[in-house]
């Protein structure tokens, strides 16, 4: 029998302790050089503007030691577990139970979500967190239309979020329009901006598109910061009215909802109302997306994602296809923005940085690009994870960045892949990158 690649990898497993130590030493040496100045020396500007510095050799040593130990552990794991993507024989029972879970997970999650305000009525923190998660679920589903379905990599999605938030904030504070009038307006305005962005980028390929959308997002943010007469600049817009229950305010007044229903007023009512509001908006996004997917336009989006040239050859109008994708995604972003503004009561440009765009994009990618359930779970994992690391404050984004890199290396197609099979019967097959050209729009 000839040596298959599998066997040669087996052979390399026998590489013993010397090899292990050598790798670890090299890695530690590299780490020492990398961290020597950046970690080993700490600089700080004193009160008189004079820079001072002090050494932190302890931190440096522990970091290098961590790299040394870490590379031994990783190397051992690699040898024990073997190369990734080896054969996985999945028993039929496990498979059927997985499909069972897959079928009932979404309804179960939905029912649980509906019950969250009932279960956690007295836990304000959990309710707030749930609202935050749902906001990101909605944003993720909105961006999913652009990235997951149409395959257009959008790094400036936060621009539409900002447009929606500022539309509502400014219309409500300047003209006294109510939330329910502004919500569709915010969506329409955001969709308009989506088309405006869509037009110039029609001819661009994946990476260029990404950079242009990023530039667009930054332009919107910079304009918001600098156009102080309209937007209040860095100070933001404050005093944005809270939403009403279709005209009935949710406050402690005589014509408030609580008084009309004859129940005792509690500030939690508004939180619960906000929760169901964002849930409804998110479900609307989901429903529209699922319906659109079955329409010709949805099919056209997916065709565009797979191969633009073939798509054009089949007579699909790529211009309108791309523009509708941008507009639809932007509209949902605008809705979410309006909700964000009414929930916070205050908006400022700081909420609309590139980090937000990257976070939403990470949610979509982690969710498997195109899978609705995956996006929802990814949003839960991401925002929940962020909350877990809240105490680490400055390390949070560091961990987020590392997680993004590791996820890309470990599972580039997301945790819950919609397009790649999650379970392999025989051998893991890497799909040639020629066959899948996401972002090749």
């Amino acid at each position: 029998m000839t040596a298959t690649p599998h066997e040669t990898k087996n052979a390399s497993r026998t590489a013993g302790i010397p090899f292990l130590l050598k790798t670890a030493f090299i890695n530690a040496a590299i780490a020492l050089v990398l961290f020597s100045l950046m970690v080993g020396i700490r600089t700080e500007a004193g009160s008189d503007g004079q820079l001072t510095y002090w050494a932190r050799f302890g931190d440096l040593a522990s970091l290098v030691a961590a790299v040394f130990g870490g590379s031994i552990v990783i190397e051992l794991l690699r040898q024990w577990i073997g190369p990734t993507g080896t054969e996985k024989l999945v028993p039929a029972s496990v498979q059927s139970s997985m499909s069972f879970v897959g079928r009932y997970l979404a309804p179960a999650l939905l029912i649980f979500t509906l019950l969250v305000p009932v279960i956690f009525y007295n836990q304000r923190y959990i309710l707030d967190l749930a609202i935050l998660v749902l906001t990101y679920v909605m944003l993720g589903w909105g961006l999913n239309v652009v990235v997951g379905l149409a395959g257009l990599l959008d790094l400036g999605y936060v621009a539409f979020y900002a447009v929606g938030a500022y539309s509502y904030g400014l219309l409500a504070t300047n003209f006294g329009l109510s939330f329910w009038v502004c919500l569709p307006l915010a969506g329409i305005l955001a969709a308009f901006w989506g088309v405006l962005l869509g037009f110039p980028v029609l001819r661009l390929r994946g990476d260029y598109l990404a950079i242009v959308t990023l530039a667009f997002g930054e332009i919107i943010r910079l304009v918001i910061i600098n156009w102080q007469d309209l937007t209040g600049g860095p100070n933001g817009v404050s005093g944005i009215p809270r939403p009403s229950f279709f005209g009935i305010p949710l406050d402690n007044s005589d014509d408030g909802l609580a008084a009309k229903l004859g129940i005792e007023y509690s500030p939690t009512h508004r939180i619960v109302f906000l929760f169901y509001l964002i849930l409804a908006l998110a479900l609307l996004t989901n429903w529209v997306t699922i319906r659109l997917r079955r329409l010709p336009i949805g099919r056209a989006w997916e065709a565009l994602r797979e191969d633009e040239v073939a798509c054009r050859a089949l007579g699909i109008n790529t211009t309108t296809t791309k523009l509708t994708a941008f507009a639809t995604g932007a509209m949902f972003g605008g809705f979410a923005g309006a909700f964000f503004a009414t929930r916070q009561g205050f908006i400022s440009p700081e909420s609309f940085t590139f980090q937000e765009s990257a976070l939403v994009l990470a949610i979509v990618v982690l969710g498997g690009m195109g899978s609705q359930l995956g996006v929802a779970l990814a949003a839960l994992a991401m925002i929940g994870g962020f909350e877990l690391f809240r105490s680490l404050e400055t390390y949070r984004m560091l961990v987020f960045g590392m997680a993004m890199v590791l996820i890309m290396i470990w599972r580039p197609r997301g945790l819950i892949g919609h397009r790649a099979p999650t379970v392999y019967l025989t051998k893991a097959q890497t799909i040639s990158s020629d066959l899948v050209k996401e972002g090749h729009g």
Binding site: V33, L34, L37, M38, V39, I41, R42, T43, E44, A45, G49, L51, Y53, L153, P200, V201, R203, L204, R205, D207, Y208, A210, I211, V212, L214, A215, F216, E218, I219, L222, V223, I225, N226, D307, V309, A310, Q355, L361, A362, V365, T394, Y395, M397, L398, F400, G401, M404, V405, M408, I409, P412, R413, T430, I431, S433, V436, K437, E438, G439, H440
Partner: protein, 305 residues
């Protein structure tokens, strides 16, 4: 007119810095076909390492400015190059044959890692240094007292850029490594068949790009007298704009684009508004991509099925 001439000088100096960063983008894009999103942060790391080396050398009692500058330049180039190499090794190489978006997302993650790493390691406050290279020449003094200044640091930035470009052009056009790089750019499989070590060539591309970014970081530090952990993001996008404007994949194009962006930004700040200078730079990126997707010196890209 004098005001115009002064802005021209300022713009060319700023453009040189952008050009040095842009070369890193354009080289990586040419060979691997990905936007190295973390490149702006590599530039920032280069600036920080230069700053720390400066501090150490001065506290060691060195006074000869040329010696200090040379040591700082070499140290920051070497360490930053190692950063570039490590990043390619960790975040990009495993994804080379993955789907198109994967390396880009990994690069965005890496950019976050680098930004926050230097924030955690060095603090969030802006780090100023006292001016090292002072003095300059007065080129012309007009009747109303406006003076065109050409400072020594500006001369140094431009000369360093020209020297580096000369070395770099020689490297790419005359050496074995340059030939390998151009071969990999055209066809990696074929290059590998003909005995080019593709992995090593790509690594070297990242190393050279990072070293040039480190020089840009040092120049930025000397010219503006400060570094902070967030400066890589905007500088990175502008340098990428420069690379696109010049035609991505084209090395002289990157330098040309850098100069153009530097000039546009300076003149915009001088004649219109400082607040919107970044908006101007980003708008140019969009306009260029719409009307001239291949840039000034780029080759048109043929899409194959």
């Amino acid at each position: 007119m004098d005001y115009f001439a002064q802005q021209l000088i300022n713009g060319l100096v700023l453009g040189s810095i952008y050009g040095l960063i842009a070369i890193g983008y354009t080289m990586v894009y040419g060979i691997v076909g990905m936007i190295n999103f973390a490149h702006g942060d590599i530039f920032m790391i280069g600036g920080f390492i230069a700053l720390i080396t400066f501090l150490i050398l001065i506290s060691l009692g060195l006074t000869a400015i040329p010696v200090i500058l040379l040591v700082v330049l070499l140290v920051s180039m070497a360490i930053t190059a190692l950063y570039g190499w490590t990043i390619e090794r960790i975040a990009y190489r495993p994804l080379r044959h993955s789907f198109r978006l994967a390396p880009m997302l990994s690069a965005i993650g890496m950019s976050f890692v680098l930004t926050n790493y230097s924030q955690v390691a060095q603090g969030a406050r802006v780090k100023p240094i006292p001016p090292f290279i002072t003095g300059g020449y007065t080129l012309h003094e007009s009747a109303d007292g406006f003076v065109i200044q050409l400072s020594n640091i500006q001369i140094m930035v431009v000369i360093t850029t020209i020297v580096l470009l000369a070395i770099f052009t020689w490297l790419v056009s005359r050496t074995r490594l340059g030939r390998d790089m151009r071969a990999c750019e055209q066809d990696q499989t074929m290059a590998a068949l003909l005995g080019v070590n593709v992995d090593r060539t790509i690594s070297m591309t990242f190393v050279i790009g990072a070293a040039l970014a480190a020089v840009a970081g040092l120049m930025y530090l000397l010219y503006y007298g400060l570094v902070d952990f967030f400066m890589g993001f905007v500088a990175g996008i502008k340098a990428f704009t420069a690379a696109v404007l010049g035609g991505i994949g084209s090395l002289p194009g990157a330098m040309l684009g850098g100069l153009a962006i530097g000039l546009i930004e300076t003149f915009w700040s001088a004649y219109f508004s400082v607040e919107y200078k970044d908006v101007a730079a980003f708008s140019i990126l969009i306009v260029v991509l719409i009307f001239m997707p291949t840039g000034l010196l780029g080759r048109p890209e043929v899409e194959k099925v």
